[in-house]
Amino acid sequence: MARKTVRTIPQDRATMPTQAPAVRAHNFDEVALGFDLDNALLESERCLLCPNPNCVPACPVNIDIPGFIEKISEKKYREAYDILTESTLLPAICGRVCPQEDQCEGVCPVGESLEPVAIGRLERWIGDMAIKEGWRNIPPIQANSFRIGIVGSGPAGMACAADMAKAGCDVTIYEAFHQAGGVLRYGIPEFRLPNEVLDAELENLKALGVKIECNTLVGRLFTIEQMLDELGFDAVFIGTGAGYPSFMGIDGESLNGVLSANELLTRCNLMGATSFPRYDTPLGLGKRVAVIGSGNTAMDALRVSLRAGAEEVYCLYRRTREESPARVEELEHAEEEGIRFEWLTAPVEILDDGNKNVRALRCQRMELGEPDDSGRRRPIPVAGSEYEFEVDTVVYAIGTNANPIIGQTSKIALNKWGYIEADDNLATSIAGVYAGGDIVTGAATVILAMGTGRKAARSMKTYLGIRDTASVYEETPDSGGDEIFGINPAERSHVRIRVTGTELCQ
């Protein structure tokens, strides 16, 4: 068959049915309903199956994208799923929440003249089919006697746990909340990622033999050091995330009606506050809500506010739509649902109604100046542009910082911002302890967190001397590391011997 070219493939993207904006703005059901069979097949035809694909290296977990799409077009769906699960644990989740336009779809050659191949939607389609059909790829696992502790059940922890379990280790995940999933549970709302999808992926993890212990606050209940010394873990992975919300430090932030996006989302997604009083957790949202910031968390907060009954919901951002860090799809969905965007606007003060509740925001118009360190044009206040903007609820979605608990309770080295210091192999300052996800990288994406979780798993296997058959570890460990017992860390894997407690006694 002649090689496909941009001219011979279907020119338009297959349509993805979505709930109508007017309907979905009042329910928590998923917005994008997913491809049907015909659309998926049509879309799969659009992939050029490049011999040297750009998309694979652009994927943080290097999914064989042309490989799985080709299987779809051959109608071998199960094989497409097999290819996906070689690289990703959570296709149904990543297909939904990855910023594909910055990754695989951003470098797709089809995108140079047409809309790029909808890789994320195809991935999701296969992921959903796997859940529906009950497919599971549990490889034959040869158990070894290593015990691995994972701190945090978010995407980084889940990915690391899966790889270590597949390598034969006895893996336990500890989660502080009463439900597992981390940001996938408390942060990302149901209309973007239904809980049943997350539950299905967690079940897959359990099928690998991973144990999940909720209600366990590592650091305070037992420390990282105790996990190694007393609880008998051979290696520990820390994926506690960057969940500590930032505030701006302007006047009026302690008024009632000012909250972080994290608080709003946790109350709604994890605690069921939108079903108050059936659920005990109240939400206390007003009628006119302003969300400050324009990232993905801001989009979630805006759209949750709308669904939770706010009449008017505004997004305030000091730059313009072009600089907005949110996924394009989320921005479009928010606009369609009737969220109002106030670009080039920054709050300078939150005003009181006399009873310590929010009455209004005092805002300032901005204009864009020279590019700053991040390459984005710096917003500069316009003199004399201050005005009052009436709202009764202000939600901060301007970023988060490292969770401090592990740092407070362990000797582990942190950088000056409180994130865990980790080398290129994600090893921390404590031997046997690895870290990944937002607690190392700062607030980032689900797929990046998964990528670091998998990378940490590779390092752990090297450290424990487990032969890694799944992938060859290419990067050489930092040779400048301290020698332990006269052994270079790069060679550790060749000499580490597992001795159990009883053998020691004998």
Binding site: A176, Y244, F247, S254, E263, F276, R278, N403, P404
Partner: protein, 358 residues
């Protein structure tokens, strides 16, 4: 015989009446009745055949809605596998009660000054509670709860020995710093129980310990023996003077400060208004004073920021930066205001629950 089922006559007009099952009488009244606006029995019978099914439908609906409220009222507590077993319960008064819960790891890790988060049942909220006691040998932690809101009233009703809490997580926050030679430990209201492990720890660290605990009246005093065991002096204050000093705990604190010039540390736990008053009592003496914050929080792990308090002009999160702060720097007015954030919702939830429970 003439068919007059459901019918009765008032003056000469026919009426129809269907009695309401006992369980629904609060909702619908003793019976459902209406006038048929006719004196003719035939017409009344026809009208009755329309009215009775309509009444029946209303009764059915009321029953369904009652069942639904009941279902809401009784969300499942946890089972043996995932829950936390309640081993002991003691009621100190009609609102204050104690739960001793099995949690060996938690008991091993807990230190004075720390708190836990409890969830009663599957739909429950996350309730922060200061640890009132812990027993490392038995592997239990003790919580003392005041039934004031919906969740705590529901706990009072449903937490029996042998039942399980849906979740219990902790210990959270920094433990207390226990460096003092002569210390006053003040507990009032909800703070009486949490002051106990502090007082014990201070005593065990070798300090001279003065306990000041406040109750409404003599009948509500609890744990006097436990306090006396670890106090060099114990000052009891009651609102009505039925035991100890008549008045608030600040009077007891004042008395202690006057009696001992060498007090170098005060810790006060209780309602914000009490802690504020204690801070003002010690301020002229310049004695280091610590209070334990109890703001509204969701996760307790530094994630939501709902528990932020202003201390010395800086925003702190009570859950991960506290819960104990320098009393002379805390903005109590802001704390009290923020505690009122959900007052309306809380009252509605309590009323709703009481109505469903009755």
């Amino acid at each position: 015989m003439e068919d007059t089922r459901y019918l009765f006559r008032r003056n000469r007009t026919w009426w129809v009446k269907v009695s309401v099952p006992k369980a629904l009488r609060d909702e619908l009244g003793y019976d459902l009745r209406c006038s048929l606006h006719t004196e003719s029995l035939d017409e009344a019978r026809k009208a009755r055949d329309v009215a009775v099914p309509e009444f029946r439908r209303r009764i059915r609906e009321a029953r369904a809605s009652l069942q639904q409220t009941r279902a809401c009222k009784e969300p499942a507590m946890a089972d043996d596998e995932s829950g936390f077993l309640i081993l002991r319960r003691e009621d100190f008064s009609d609102v204050t009660f104690l739960l001793e819960v099995e949690a060996p790891l938690l008991a091993r890790a807990a230190e004075p000054g720390q708190f836990v988060i409890v969830i009663l049942h599957e739909f429950g909220e996350r309730i922060p509670l200061t640890i009132a006691d812990f027993d490392r040998d038995k592997g239990t932690v003790t919580l003392v709860i005041q039934a004031v809101g919906k969740s705590s009233c529901e706990m009072q009703q449903r937490c029996r020995v042998g039942t399980h809490l849906h979740a219990l997580v902790g210990p959270m926050g920094f433990p207390s710093e226990l460096h003092a030679d002569k210390v006053v430990c003040v507990g009032g209201g909800l703070g009486v129980a949490p002051i106990y492990p502090q007082l014990r720890a201070f005593k065990e660290s070798g300090a001279y310990v003065i306990g000041v605990v406040g109750f409404r009246n003599k009948e509500l005093i609890f744990w006097q023996d436990k306090f006396e065991q670890y106090c060099d002096e114990l000052i009891i204050c009651t609102d009505d003077g039925s035991a100890g000093i008549e008045g608030r705990v600040t009077l007891g604190l004042q008395a202690a400060l006057d009696r001992h010039a060498d007090i170098d540390h005060v810790i006060a736990i209780g309602p914000p208004i009490m802690m504020k008053a204690c801070a003002e009592t010690t301020r002229p003496y310049g004695v280091e004073t610590i209070v334990s914050m109890n703001p509204i929080m969701v996760d307790g792990t530094g994630m939501c920021g709902g528990c932020r308090v202003t201390v010395g002009g800086e925003i702190k999160f009570a859950c991960v930066d506290g819960p104990e702060f320098d009393a002379h720097k805390v903005d109590f007015d802001e704390l009290m205001n923020r505690l009122g954030r959900y007052r309306g919702d809380e009252k509605a939830a309590l009323d709703n629950w009481k109505k469903a429970a009755s």
